[in-house]
Amino acid sequence: MSSTPPAQLHLAVALDGTGWHPASWREQAARPRDLFTAGYWADLVAEAERGLLDFVTFEDGLALQSSRYGEPDGRTDQVRGRLDAVLTASRVAPLTRHIGLVPTVTATHTEPFHISKAIATLDYVSTGRAGLRVQVSARPHEAAHFGRRAFPPITTAELQDPAGQERLTELFDEAADYIEVVRRLWDSWEDDAEIRDVATGRFIDRDKLHHIDFEGKHFSVKGPSITPRPPQGQPLVTALAHQAVPYRLVARQADVGYVTPHDADQARALVAEIRTAQESAGRADDPLHVFGDVVVFLDDERTAAEDRRARLDALAGEPYTSDARIFAGTPAQLADLLQEFAEAGLSGFRLRPAVAGHDLPGITRALVPELQRRGVFRTAYEAGTLRGLLGLARPANRYAATA
């Protein structure tokens, strides 16, 4: 092996209710009655920040959670109901100082103009720590909440057949347009557009504000934004991707893509596929992080973690399955796995705590020190913005004249 120091890992945590296991809310540490309070979310994010994590993501959707893809499941034994992710992220922003805040937004049913200014504002509120995770929705029941488009019924399996793929392609292409609009709006004010020139009475130099004039298949947006360019210039854009269609979105528009490899070979293949898509999109030279998503049950002993998983599965009445690899074991074992994945080309991880109240502290208080001992994780926050933590430069404004 070479003598160069090992690559630094980036770590994010995905926050979703009381945790990713559907029975997580039954655990002592879960606080299910606090789920709809600001204090609950503030405590989780403070814990993540204590562990020097790069960022947290906030899951969201435009319908009650369901164990079925395209319809409600009518269950009363799991967490149902949630708060808007952008507002939750903003609510905790003034209470934190370093950690990135990345709420989920659904491109299919929302306005890119509203989301662009919302994330720009989150960036102001957090002084440069905002991002978004974009998702699409082919779910008929979510579409029915808006009444603007009707989607035929669909299951997770049917999404894989040709008709399902065609629908997904359509939705992801729309999402790519959506992100294009969001990004152009972030740039629609040049950084020094506000001049406050008392002599001429001009507050702005209007030559430094730009109509974005986006016209696409699904919508057109004029601009400029009503919100000036945010502190990071371009807040972080992230997306979860499981197959070729969303890889293309990641390759075209994202700063971070989340993938779900189950072993190192898969990780290597996924990274290669995304790099190829990146080249096709003409972005080969742009920095693009590929993070692996892993569900984690962390305990001091492997058997304790496995027993906990089994106990939760028993409470849920069925074994928990996931798109991502499910890990149950010790912090050292998880560190081994992450390093193995990192060698396969992943630059970071988005860990999904099985039980937020238990496994998040496991990450921050046991995994992180273990990674620090191995010299692969920061021992202090080294940058003031989320882009900075991820080694991403503040981008030039696409509309600024390059003199």
Partner: protein
Amino acid sequence: MSKPLKQIHLAAHFPGVNNTTVWSDPRAGSHIEFSSFAYFARTAERAKFDFLFLAEGLRLREQGGEIYDLDVVGRPDTFTVLAALAAVTEHLGLTGTINSTFNEPYEVARQFASLDHLSGGRSAWNVVTSWDAFTGENFRRGGFLPQQERYSRAKEFLATATELFDSWGADEILADQATGVFLRDAKAGSFVHSGRHFDIHGQFDVPRSPQGRPVVFQAGDSEEGREFAASSADAIFSRHATLEGGKAFYTDVKRRLATYGRRHDELLILPAATFVLADTDEEAGELAKEVRRQQVSGATAIKHLEFVWNRDLSSYDPEGPLPDIDPDVGTDHISQGRAQVRMYRDPLATAREWRELATAHHWSIRDLVINTGNRQTFVGSPATVARTINDHVQADASDGYILVPHLTPTGLDAFADKVVPLLQEQGVFRTEYAGTTLRDHLGLAHPDSVDDRVAS
């Protein structure tokens, strides 16, 4: 006969995107940075105000085909700022102006319900309508709504959002770890709405929030707007801040409540009001003139005249006489994206009237705009302003005021430090918050208790 003294309600309007806001003052800070909002909100909370108010504008204003650059330009996203302010305040109500044209009920309802949870019951929604294709160019559907349908959509929007807020009972979340029952009823949040503007069904995904529903404001002034407010609003953000104008509006709107089976005290009238404070009334009068000159620069005066003349007047000297030519009464208007355009319905008559005024008083263009424009509502020493506000409220010209300072973010400081203590001494303004929710501050009942009363 002695009527008990009314308690005054006070709110703080973050300085807006218009020429009331003086940005040229060296003390003027950022209107975008969160630190400005936090400072302003903390000042309002220190003064025990009822709530903070944010206005809306979804497209930058243009005049003569160019972005209007003489006033403050730009603002952050309303929901995002209010959620963050919930973290730096404990009691202050958080009122956001949110459009019913360029949004969908499901999304807005989940945003307000979320804000209400995240603020412990302090959210309020000022429902506004718009229709213009100019603003619509920033949105997926474009300018889809004919002007005459804007209230029809607003009413149905609010009614639909209310159905969503009410789709959850207060006790649906059991989260019983022992029995494994999280939700009392699998049907929680179910809704079906089928109407002219919205045809939606499903399950709302935010459980009942502390206030049940956000407090609802209405700001329109037309006949339709007044009826809308009387039927569905908890408070009106009005523009009638003078004693006589306020009384007339107050009487008119409160009279309409009975039609909808509502009590006199179920709708608060809160006009927007500006103020100038100094040690003496005389000094305040002088300062008010100075502030008016800051608000109306020569360039601003010309642009203001252009609203009425509807033509390019850039060749005119603001310190000189009014134009001899008449306004262009064509259909396309030079100014887009602002409400004032509709205030001058007969530009020829306005121009005639202004010329007469200018001649009589020897006014330049700038003098005219300064003198005919919005003068500050309350000008005087702290004692005078406190007395005037109290007199207005006790005379039923309003139930209180939404104060609009002209400086960001310190414009509220003097009012908080000097006027509020006088109102408190007179026993007409709270010295401590009595409750935790905005409904508590405003004396509005929780919707569940109102619904019980109506049902019984």
